[in-house]
Amino acid sequence: MLETTTRILVVDDSLSLRKIMSVMIRGAGYQDVIEAANGEKAWEVLTQSDRPVGLIVCDWMMPVCTGLEFLKKVRADTKYKDLPFFMLTAETDDDRKVEALAAGATEYLSKPFSADVLRDKVAGLGSLAKAA
């Protein structure tokens, strides 16, 4: 399980979904949530954050810079190669999931999903870290 003080970056072009994600994450006990509206903004927020980001929760379909493009940029920087990255999408094609995981996504969640599912995925990060 991540420390509850972990800073979590939520990336979605939909203001309402960013807010919903933030509510879910805070409800799971993580109060330090920051937001960005696309991959380009997210990169700025990530690299300029005054505290290290411990998890990125990112939508796929966004203008300017998609979630996949942002993920590839994150993974290309050795500083962030192990940073947990959850890819979210309303797309349900298996090909998308394979593409995201191949690009380095830690988890892939299809919308809609409940707060419980997100909480379990975040809890699973601790297991992954212990296993590694």
């Binding site: 939909s14 203001l15 309402s16 979904l17 807010k19 919903i20 509510v23 409800g27 379909m61 999408t89 309303a90 797309e91 349900t92 094609d93 299809s110 919308k111 809609p112 999903f113 409940s114």
Partner: protein, 295 residues
Amino acid sequence: MPFEFTPQTEYLVLTLKGECNGDGADKVMPGAEKHLAAGNLKFVVVQCSECGDIDTVFLRTLAQLYKRVKDLNGKLCLVHANDKIQEAIKRNGLDRILPWKMSLRGALVEFGLVKSKEFDVNFINPFLAATQKVLKVQCFLEATAQKPFIKKPTDPPLLGDISGIIGLTAETFNGTLAISFPSSLFLVLATNMFGQPYTEITSEIVDLAGELSNMILGQAKMVLNPLGYQIQQAIPSCVWGKDHKIKHFGGGACVVLPFETKAGIFHVEVISNSGVQEKKPLAAPAAPVVPGKAA
């Protein structure tokens, strides 16, 4: 094996994959017999969207399958057969017993399971289930489906105060999905989802309708695409305001799916030109006429 069976309520789907040559052809008939008997079925859709070519041996196997369903007073039809497959069928003189249609709907009309001017329940039902799932999981709201109906151009609009719209495109048709809420119901949804009361539609919540349409289409695709619809979704948009209108993209019949909740009634509209043979380019998700609009 380069194929798999997916039984449906009224027909059996045989999905062909990759290059269908003699390999595994001998497994087709035993598999088909098992599924036809288990489901008491007599119609077979041969889904070719994932198939590059069919050789003579495999075509003969399909001819055997045709004969079997004919003995059951049923029919067999290929869908999404590419030019190579169509040529192979003609070359082998099998075009009278292995007919092909451009869409699953076309095959179902051929079988007499769908009237050409009626909407296809196999296409619409996944949208009913998807709407209920999205509302329950994302909005904590149970929605009971009412009887769907076709909206005529002369019918009055059923729209609420805010609508989410998303374009869909496939190999053989284009269309639009719209979900429309009265503002009172939409505010209940937002209140449930955000955990704080909303008494008016604000910029913070307005794009929620579009996102819900996106999720519903994504969930419906999960059921429809394995049947061969090959639907892709566009970017959702949102319109709101009293008397706002939605200009649907697609030009076919508009099927209205009403849902009842404890907070009121809302509607999902699905329109597709699925009877049209040629694919039209998807220029935009929809062209809403709007008092208010959010991307």
